[in-house]
């Protein structure tokens, strides 16, 4: 893995954890393996707000239907990375 993609991985994860910190988690640990639906209390409206913020931060389009494949924070980070790398 190059330094560049490592940096990107870290930047995405850090940004996500910062954005997610405002939502209550069931266990007190928020990390890459946290399950967004099962471990966190984010309703659909807040999830959409979160995605709009992420889109603005990384200047990408994140279709809501892509959330169907997202369970954990890591899954979300992976999707964002793909979008950033394929940015037109």
């Amino acid at each position: 893995m190059s330094h560049e993609t490592q940096d990107l991985d870290q930047e995405i994860m850090q940004t996500l954890l910062t954005h997610l910190a405002r939502f209550p988690t069931k266990s007190d640990e928020l990390n890459a393996q946290t399950d967004l639906a099962a471990d966190m209390n984010i309703d659909s409206v807040n999830m959409m707000e979160l995605l709009m913020e992420i889109e603005d931060t990384f200047d990408v389009s994140f279709p809501l239907n892509m959330m169907a494949n997202v369970n954990t924070v890591q899954d979300l980070a992976n999707q964002i990375k793909q979008l950033v790398e394929n940015r037109p």
Binding site: D59, L64, N65
Partner: protein
Amino acid sequence: MSISDRFAELAHIRDSLGAVEADPSRIVMEKILSPTEALIAGKRTILVGTNNYLGLTFEPELLDAACAAMHEQGSGTTGSRMANGSFAGHAALERDFAEFYDVPSAMIFSTGYQTNLGLLMAILRPGDKVVLDSHSHACIYDGCRISGADFLAFRHNDPEDLRKRLRRLGGDAEGALVIAEGLYSMLGDIAPLADLCAVAKEYGAWFMVDEAHSFGVYGERGLGLCEEAGILDQVDFITGTFSKSLASLGGFCVSRHPEMQLLRYGSRPYIFTASSSPANIAAADAALRAIRTRPEIKDKLWANANRLYDGLKGLGYELASTVSPVIAVRVPSKEEGARLWNALLDEGVYVNLVLPPAAPDSAALLRCSLSAAHSFEQIDAILSAFKAASAGSDRAVGASAH
């Protein structure tokens, strides 16, 4: 996840509503006394949360037309129009909508929900792009989701945010679909449709507007907010429902594109469900006539909205938007919302209690929807009830609530 897990989740939702004593499913209208009054738990109650904007549900023309249609054509159509054929009334109502909007295409569906589902499922495919207002109604989200298209939200009522998101789509913006509503049902705020439409057109996108709450209420002729914004010749699809201003059950879609009619051949929510009953069709058609010929009904609705709006402001309540036939009172907590909602019921006034996530940017909303059939005396009684209800609060609602 198993079905029994899902039952447990639903029971949890019910219990959380029960915990704040705010389960709307316990509201039973034992007797409907008029468009604006019912007996609830034996008590005569003023209804100010029923979307009966023009108050036509007991209008003699509607009742006579519906009864006559039922006697002539029967109580139900017992099937879909593709399988059983259309009744003359379905085709006539579509012609009336096309004529009213002066467009080549109009189709009616069995509900407003199915209208949006029917349009979106038919015109979108996986890979297509949709940019929709973040406050869009569930059926707009559902239609997008089922279609398999890529859909993303723009910030509520923000044309510049829409522009940003279309720009990010690059070449895909051309031919994308942009969706907004007219009057938003929860906060009672209206979309800047002229600006949204201009941005959509600048990028070569299609523009769809759901006028569920604005048809019959806005526009000089009552066509809705697209008429008021002067974009009837640019908007590509307008959808709406019979279940509010039209005092019936069903939905419509009109379009300046003659091809919209082709949805009949590929829209599953049109093809695979029974068509609206003769009574529903006749009532909607009579309501449409009332909108076209009696503009004074709309004027009365607005007079009522202004009176309630000014009165609630005067009582110190925080209102979510400028005046419209939907007036949403912001409440600082779920518990206070439920307490006020129950207190209003005790005072003989029914409003909608809206809790998150349905209450955008708020802990809770007490949502009032006005009707042209409300009298000024009823509006004043509603205001007295709000005054009495807030008297029991710890001054959490509106610093100046007396």
